[in-house]
């Protein structure tokens, strides 16, 4: 079926310069959440790079085996952050996923979702709007504090998950498009809520908007925003990814603003880092346009603390709050002090650190769908660390982490609320 491995090998050659930098020291084993569960070399960055190298040198014929291992990764970037020789592991893995998964073919389901739905924002939104109205029929509340649900029936995809239900009204219905001029705040910012905030956690988006309004900033939140593209890219669907990038680019280029803010660590990392990284095949002018928007993209916690300088520390009393570092904030963008500063500026918050706060929660987007057992084992460690902190609330900066952490806490019956840092910050305003 895949006889022409030579073609695949040739395509992988373009990664050679990046892969050769891996000196096979094995230090990635110390930090890889997947390896710590499976203890298999093919699951850690060094092993995956060795397999890709062997595939590109036509030393291995089992392309499917390599593909499986390549896709069995959270893309959390812990390895890259800890790599002594600075191997750009995520660059390699994203590009390799595009090459290998395109060569081997996307699964029919993924094709249907990415190409049929995700790249058509209006259709995607209306499908999920309908779904939110019917979900109560099949699901029941699992944990009141967290607000999670579980399946009433034996549903194949949901399984034992305690998932966050779709919001009754997405952000886009609660807060129509905005285009305002700045007041005393001086800056004009664009806001990219992202799919998960829009559809599951609109209250996070509302908290962000409350803060932006409070600080009298000009806000540009256009209608018709598309997904940032990460689910498509992680599955190697570059075509859909490119469409999503273009769609968003055109919408945000219509207006001028100082920063593009997101409250989703994954969206920020995707726009800020992956958009330019994956634009090598585009025209020079397109590359420049992408780079310009990417450069303006910033995590909202970082914006509040580094640009607005709003977070003066106070001696907080009251609710014990801990913080989970999303990989895409800490490991990709080195944002970890700012969200803590925001939490510590709330007088009703007693901040406590959890052990291993920057350990991946195990979500990894579609990793959670393909390897739920493993995702849950990794998530259990995060849950144990949260519980060990004694916190009543766990805050974080990524709605994908919020979903995973909610699932883990809810399954264990823990009465610990899961919030976005901006929700807690907005309480002070």
């Amino acid at each position: 079926m895949h006889e022409d491995l030579h073609q695949l090998a040739k395509m992988l050659h373009e990664l050679d310069d990046q892969m050769v930098a891996c000196m096979k020291c094995g230090m990635c084993q110390a930090v890889c959440p997947v390896f710590s569960e499976t203890m298999k070399e093919g699951d850690v960055a060094r092993g995956k790079i060795a397999l890709l190298e062997n595939l590109s040198h036509e030393m291995i014929a089992d392309a499917e085996g390599v593909q499986d291992k390549l896709n069995k990764c959270l893309l959390c970037g812990s390895c890259a952050a800890n790599c002594p020789s600075g191997v750009k592991v995520l660059d390699i893995f994203f590009k390799a996923r595009v090459i290998v998964n395109t060569y081997m073919g996307l699964s029919a389901t993924k094709k249907a979702i990415f190409q049929g739905l995700l790249t058509k924002p209006a259709l995607f939104n209306s499908v999920l709007d309908v779904a939110s109205k019917f979900q109560g029929v099949f699901t029941k509340t699992a944990n009141e504090v967290i607000g999670s649900s579980c399946s009433r029936i034996n549903a194949p995809v949901i399984g034992e998950r305690h998932f966050m239900p779709l919001a009754k009204k997405p952000l886009r219905k609660l807060e129509p498009a905005l285009n305002t001029r700045p007041g005393k705040g001086g800056y004009r910012v664009a806001f990219f809520p992202g799919c998960v905030i829009d559809k599951i956690y609109p209250q996070v988006g509302q908290a962000v908007l409350k803060a932006l309004r409070h600080h009298e900033l000009g806000i540009y939140m256009p209608a018709g925003q598309a997904c940032c593209g990460i689910p498509a890219l992680a599955s190697g669907d570059k075509e859909s990814f490119d469409k999503l990038v273009k769609c968003n680019l055109e919408i945000f280029e219509k207006e001028n603003f100082d920063y593009l803010l997101t409250a989703c660590a994954t969206c920020t990392a995707t726009i800020h880092e992956l958009w330019p990284m994956m634009s090598g095949d585009k025209t020079e002018s397109m590359q420049e346009r992408i780079a310009a928007l990417a450069a303006k993209t910033m995590d909202v916690n970082k914006f509040m603390v580094d640009v607005l300088k709003v977070a003066a520390p106070v001696q907080g009393h009251g609710t014990k709050v801990t913080y989970h570092d999303p990989c895409h904030l800490k490991k990709s963008m080195k944002v970890f002090e700012q969200p803590r500063a925001l939490l510590k500026s709330n007088p009703k918050v007693e901040f406590v650190e959890m052990p291993e706060a920057d350990r991946c929660c195990g979500c990894g987007g579609s990793f959670n769908l393909q390897h739920y057992g493993l995702s849950k084992d990794i998530g259990k460690i995060k849950r144990d660390n949260i519980v060990a902190s004694g916190a009543q609330v766990v805050a974080t900066g990524c709605p994908a982490c919020m979903m995973q952490i909610s699932d883990m806490l809810s399954q264990h019956g823990d009465k610990i609320a899961v919030k976005h840092v901006m929700e807690i910050y907005a309480e002070t305003l």
Binding site: V20, M27, A30, E41, A50, P84, S85
Partner: protein
């Protein structure tokens, strides 16, 4: 080829999930951290208890399958690269239990797959200390440390892995249980097989349990950084510190090439024109004694021509002083695609001669070599920065490595301080020892492993 019935037998013994047979799985165990050609094993086996390990060895022996035991695969001399014909890898990461930490008798019993740093942390929790700290300790296993006699930064004062091995119980080539050493400080029962196991690189037995010595930790430490215009002065300083009866727990050296690469990488404002910097740390059981020693060290540094000496006042400053040393390997590794990390070791008085020779060799073969390492014990890491894809350049690297070893031996040194011989250095072994040494070692090997199945080809070739 491994027969279907044997495969089933392994699967029945270990469980299907612990027998890796697919091509992509096997390829992930074909290399280690040494810059050598990969060899793909025919099978990868992962026992999860002692009994399974013994039976795995016995089954391999019965079926004449050469066994290479692998922990984290961080070996720098090819010791964990499997054997070419029908090689099988036995993984120890399923044998990762700390069986006992005895606070009264100051020993611990561990399985071979326990990760060094995790063990050291567990020991520290109980107020005790396990000093060996190889660079790979965050992932390396204690079994691998014993098999390679791993060293680290604390070698000068605290010794290396062999100084902490009290006993090793292991499976012999036939899968029978051999016990050696024990849990007492004094133990002269039988041949000292436990120490024979140390550094044997998997060629004499398959470790099942290791008994390690623990010591009380130091309570105080002081770190200093000294800059020198002349590497001879740095070396004289090292000698003078020790002549003054002070044994620092760390005495690390970075040469000019390394200083510049680290500064390029960290932009930390290191002295780019310094010929060498020494990072010195003294520790001990009482803060007053340690402070005394630290002051003496500063004096000695100045007296021996250090142009600048900084002493860390607190933990934050100490951390900052360490930054240059911590970033030595990362900086070197980033400079070029391939990093050849050597560990030729000389008597510490010969460090200036060795570094001069390394720099001459670098110039002769037009190569970039940065040298850093453990000045206190003469264990240097000349690190050659290259690109293995450039055949012509890599040939020059091989010639340079040959010459580095020649010089190290001529200065009364050794091929390897802590990385092991494996296959990477076995061809030079006779040069350092003698023909008779090789023959003696091979006879020993043949007597305990008549079928030549325990990591064959490593250390002594054959």
């Amino acid at each position: 080829m491994i027969s279907a019935s044997l495969l089933t037998e392994f699967q029945n013994l270990l469980g299907k999930d612990n027998v890796l047979e697919s091509e992509s799985d096997r390829h992930a165990y074909s290399y280690d951290a040494a810059v050598l050609d990969a060899v793909v094993p025919e099978l990868v086996l992962r026992p999860t208890n002692s009994e399974q390990l013994g039976k795995t060895v016995a089954l391999c022996n019965e079926n004449k399958l050469p066994m290479t035991v692998r922990g984290a695969g961080t070996n720098l001399s090819g010791g964990t690269i499997p054997t070419k014909e029908h090689g099988v890898v036995i993984l120890t990461n399923g044998l990762n239990k700390i069986l006992e930490i005895n606070e009264q008798d100051l020993y611990a019993v561990v399985e071979p797959g326990v990760v060094t740093a995790k063990f050291a942390a567990e020991v520290a929790k109980r107020g005790l200390f396990y000093p060996p700290d190889p660079g790979s300790q965050a992932v390396s296993t204690l079994g691998g440390n014993v098999a390679e006699n791993a060293g680290g930064l604390r070698g000068l004062k605290y010794g290396v892995t062999k100084d902490y091995v009290m006993g090793v119980n292991f499976w012999n080539a036939e899968g029978e249980y051999v016990k050696s050493g024990g849990k007492t400080v004094k133990c002269v029962t039988g041949l000292n097989i436990a120490q024979l196991m140390v550094g044997s690189e998997g060629t004499l037995g398959v470790y099942d349990q290791i008994i390690l010595k623990l010591v009380p930790p130091p309570v105080a430490s002081k770190a200093m950084l000294a800059e020198f215009d002349d590497i001879n002065k740095a070396s004289e300083t090292v000698a003078a510190i020790i002549a003054n009866k002070i044994v620092p727990c760390t005495l690390e050296l970075l040469d000019n090439a390394t200083i510049n690469l680290v500064d390029d990488f960290t932009k930390a404002g290191l002295p780019r024109d310094a010929a060498a910097i020494l990072l010195i740390e003294v520790d001990g059981g009482h803060i007053a004694l340690v402070e005394d020693d630290a002051e003496k060290v500063v004096e000695i540094c100045k007296k021996n021509g250090a142009r600048r000496v900084q002493m860390a006042k607190d933990a934050a400053e100490k951390n900052k002083l360490w930054e240059a040393r911590r970033n030595a390997l990362p900086a070197l590794a980033r400079a070029r695609p391939t990093t050849v990390l050597e560990d030729a070791t000389v008597p510490r008085s010969q460090i200036p001669a060795m570094i001069k020779a390394i720099n001459d060799i670098a110039a002769k073969y037009k190569l970039q070599i940065g040298t850093f390492g453990h000045a206190g014990d003469g264990n240097l890491h000349p690190t050659i920065l290259t690109d293995k894809r450039d055949k012509e350049e890599f040939h020059r690297v091989e010639l340079a490595v040959d010459e580095i070893f020649d010089v190290a031996l001529s200065l009364g040194g050794t091929l390897s301080g802590e990385h092991g011989i494996g296959t990477a250095k076995s061809k030079w072994l006779e040069k350092e020892t003698s023909k008779a040494t090789i023959i003696y070692s091979r006879r020993l090997k043949k007597a305990v492993d008549p079928n030549y199945l325990l990591n064959p080809g490593k250390i002594i070739g054959g």
